[in-house]
Each structure stands twice: as structure tokens, then as C-alpha cells.
């Protein structure tokens, strides 16, 4: 029996890389970003739109371009099949001040639809297709 997934972000690499349209949208993205989910930190490396690695913290001296920081319950709500209003989109959570978006935001803003899609990728597959991307 396989281990239950403790954090949906652990599915990020498989889900994103299996989505060819999303990978194509991010084909010029080569960066490293940081995600805080309250219970842990995650260093995510992207090359040509594919997720190369998702490393769980704590890490010694991690380097990254930008960070997305929100409590675990906010991410869990964001990753519901049909999230409620205010938790359905990264900028919606930023407006509610539950998500902090920090660092060198150029790769994030230049590829905003891509990163919205990446972070929504762990949502269950029967979620509204393309929602909030």
C-alpha cells in the first residue's frame, strides 16, 4: 500500500509535467521558487516549463527568485476541487492577505498564467477544467 500524500504540493511535479499545454505555456521559464505551506517549505526548480525538482525544507542556504507564503489551511482550501471565492486564485489570496508574494517577481509576473496553473495543478482532476488559470 502506498503512503498517503501528506501535502498536495508533493504531486506538483507529476501533475505539471503531465500537462503538456501547461508546460508549453511555461516553455521559457527557467527559475527556482520557494513555497511556504505553514507545515513545511519547498524549493521548486523549473526548466523550460517542466518541474525538475520539489525539495522539502528545511534546506541549508536555499537560493530562489521569488516566494509564495501562505498557511497550510489556506493552501488546502486553494487545492479543493472547487475552492470558495477568495481562495480560488493566487491573487485572490494575496488580496485577502493570506498569501504573500515576495522576492524578484519578474519570472512570476511575466508568466503569471503559467504559475497560476502550476500552483493549481495539485487540485483533484475533476475540478472545473482550467479554473482560475
Amino acid at each position: 500500500m502506498s503512503q498517503p500524500i501528506a501535502n498536495p504540493i508533493e504531486q506538483l511535479q507529476q501533475r505539471v509535467n503531465a500537462d503538456e499545454k501547461l508546460v508549453w505555456r511555461g516553455r521559457y521559464v527557467d527559475t527556482v521558487f520557494w513555497v511556504e505551506t505553514g507545515d513545511s517549505d519547498w524549493l521548486i526548480r523549473v526548466a523550460e516549463g517542466r518541474i525538475v525538482s520539489v525539495k522539502r525544507g528545511p534546506l541549508a542556504m536555499p537560493s530562489w527568485r521569488f516566494a509564495l507564503r501562505a498557511p497550510r489551511d489556506a493552501w488546502d482550501t486553494f487545492w479543493l476541487p472547487l475552492p470558495p471565492s477568495g481562495f480560488h486564485d493566487l491573487l485572490a489570496m494575496a488580496k485577502r492577505r493570506v498569501l504573500r508574494i515576495e522576492g524578484d517577481l519578474h519570472p512570476f509576473m511575466a508568466n503569471l498564467l503559467y504559475f497560476k496553473g502550476v500552483m493549481a495543478a495539485p487540485r483533484p482532476r475533476d475540478a472545473a477544467e482550467g479554473a482560475a488559470r
Binding site: H88, A94, A110, L113, G130, R133
Partner: protein, 282 residues
């Protein structure tokens, strides 16, 4: 093969706006009470394609929309390359009233969304005698910026892509996919700096806080419709405005977002029809 023209006709109007010659794109459909529609920031009249194709509306209303200068198929004024576009309350009001006069609209119903919804509140306050009713979609007194607007206009970020990215989550996640992406396409087509320039009105110059209580709905009825998923002008913002305006009637539209008429025309029209029936006294 099937090929059908829609009932919409579009024309270019040569007109002086703000003291300068302009070429403004205007489209309309239907007949009856004029219904003047104001599009959102950085978009254009295509947002009202659903209304202009719905026979239930066209039977009683002449639906008219124009692209603001710099938007859609309306050109910016000559010399635009040497200016930074910035929409002000005064200019926006002036253009709407001038266009309404030029089109010889007799006390139209005004309906605007987002920046148009904010403008609806300004029109209700300062020009109620010019309109038989006003409908504000996604209308609130003020919106604080929740991201750095400078990202919308810089050469090293594609303006269309980032604009679409900024607004994508403002729509209801269950709104029809094709209509959502049509709505985003309009944003992807906006000219450089236009979205940012429109947001000068939305976030700074058009602030209505402290003035809503002066709107007199006995002079012009005011209806407010807002989508549930809008985090720019939230349902709470609209309900707060309605509480401050005696006689204003507000309704929150389930499942819809910031672009109701464009992201889900069918769903939106179900909310709009009862309002239009009341306006025409049906």
C-alpha cells in the same frame, strides 16, 4: 455550411472628445429604450456580445456600446506616442456625456462594469437627470491596489499576457470555458499601458468613498449587480455601497465574477432581465 450575421452593427464615429478629433468605434443592436453599455478597463465592446445577441433584450432595448479611445477599435488621439495614457473621472464623464449627445440618446439607461461600474456611481451622483436608470456591475466606492500596477506596462513583460494573468482569477471558475478565454483574449489584445492608465481612475482618481450617501435614487433609480467570485470589487464592496445609498437595489450573482456579461452571458442575462423589466415598467 452555415453562416449568419449577428444582429450587431458597428460603425466608426468621427467626433471631438476632450478637445481633440477622435475616431470612435460604436456598435449597437435592438430597438427601443437606449441602453448604453460601458466596458471594463483595458477591454472593449465585445464584452457585451451576449446582450447584443439576445432577442429578449433586443425586443425592448437598443443596446449601444462604444470602445473608449485607446481601447478596442477606437484609436488614441493623434500624438498619443508622446503621452502617458491616464483616465480621469472628469475625462471619463465628459466622454460618456458627449457620446450620448452625439448619438442623440434620450435619457438612456447607463450600464457599466468595473471601471464602468464605478462610473455608474459617478453618473448617479452628478448627472442623474441624464439617465432614466443606472445599472452598476461590479460597482463599489473604492478598490485598493493589491498588486504593483507597474507590472502592467514595462517592455520586459508582455502586457497582454500579464493583463490576462491578472484578471483570470476574477472570473467564476464554473463560468463557461470558451467565454472565459474569450474574455481573456480581449485583455491580451489591449494596447501598452492602457490597463494601467484605466486603473488610475479605478484605484485613485475615481474614489467615491464619503460621497455615496449623496446619490439620490429618487432622481434616477440605481441597480447594483455583482458577481460572487470578484475579489477586485467584492460582493461586500457592493453591498456596502448599497447600504450607503438610500433606495439602491443590490443583488449578488452566484457563481459569476468580475466580467458577468462576458464570462457567462447566459447566466448574467438571467439576473439582468428582471432589472430591465422593472426599468421599462413591464
Amino acid at each position: 455550411m452555415t453562416a449568419n450575421f449577428e444582429p450587431i452593427t458597428g460603425r466608426y464615429l468621427r467626433i471631438d472628445l476632450l478637445g481633440k478629433p477622435h475616431r470612435v468605434y460604436v456598435e449597437e443592436a435592438g430597438q427601443g429604450i437606449p441602453l448604453l453599455c460601458l466596458h471594463t478597463a483595458a477591454s472593449d465592446t465585445r464584452q457585451f456580445r451576449g446582450l447584443m445577441n439576445d432577442p429578449r433584450i433586443l425586443e425592448h432595448f437598443r443596446v449601444i456600446a462604444f470602445d473608449l479611445p485607446w481601447h478596442g477599435k477606437s484609436s488614441p488621439p493623434a500624438g498619443w506616442q508622446n503621452t502617458e495614457y491616464r483616465l480621469t473621472t472628469r475625462d471619463y464623464v465628459d466622454m460618456i456625456l458627449t457620446m450620448s449627445d452625439a448619438l442623440r440618446l434620450d435619457r438612456p439607461v447607463a450600464m457599466g462594469c468595473s471601471i464602468g461600474g464605478r462610473m455608474a456611481l459617478h453618473l448617479a451622483l452628478d448627472h442623474p437627470e441624464r439617465f432614466r436608470a443606472i445599472i452598476g456591475l461590479q460597482a463599489g466606492a473604492h478598490v485598493d491596489p493589491y498588486y504593483d500596477l507597474s507590472w502592467l506596462h514595462r517592455p520586459d513583460v508582455h502586457g497582454g499576457e500579464v493583463s490576462a494573468g491578472v484578471v483570470s482569477g476574477l472570473m467564476g471558475p464554473r463560468s463557461p470555458e470558451a467565454e472565459r478565454w474569450e474574455t481573456l483574449w480581449h485583455y491580451m489584445q489591449g494596447g501598452p499601458g492602457v490597463f494601467k492608465g484605466d486603473l488610475y481612475f479605478y484605484t485613485i482618481d475615481g474614489d467615491m468613498r464619503g460621497r455615496l450617501g449623496d446619490i439620490d435614487t429618487r432622481r434616477c433609480p440605481l441597480y447594483l449587480l455583482s458577481g460572487e467570485y470578484d475579489y477586485s470589487c467584492t460582493p461586500e464592496d457592493t453591498l456596502d455601497a448599497a447600504r450607503r445609498i438610500a433606495g439602491a437595489q443590490a443583488k449578488i450573482m452566484k457563481g459569476l465574477g468580475h466580467f458577468p456579461m462576458s464570462e457567462d452571458p447566459r447566466g448574467f442575462i438571467n439576473y439582468l432581465l428582471p432589472v430591465l423589466d422593472r426599468i421599462r415598467g413591464a
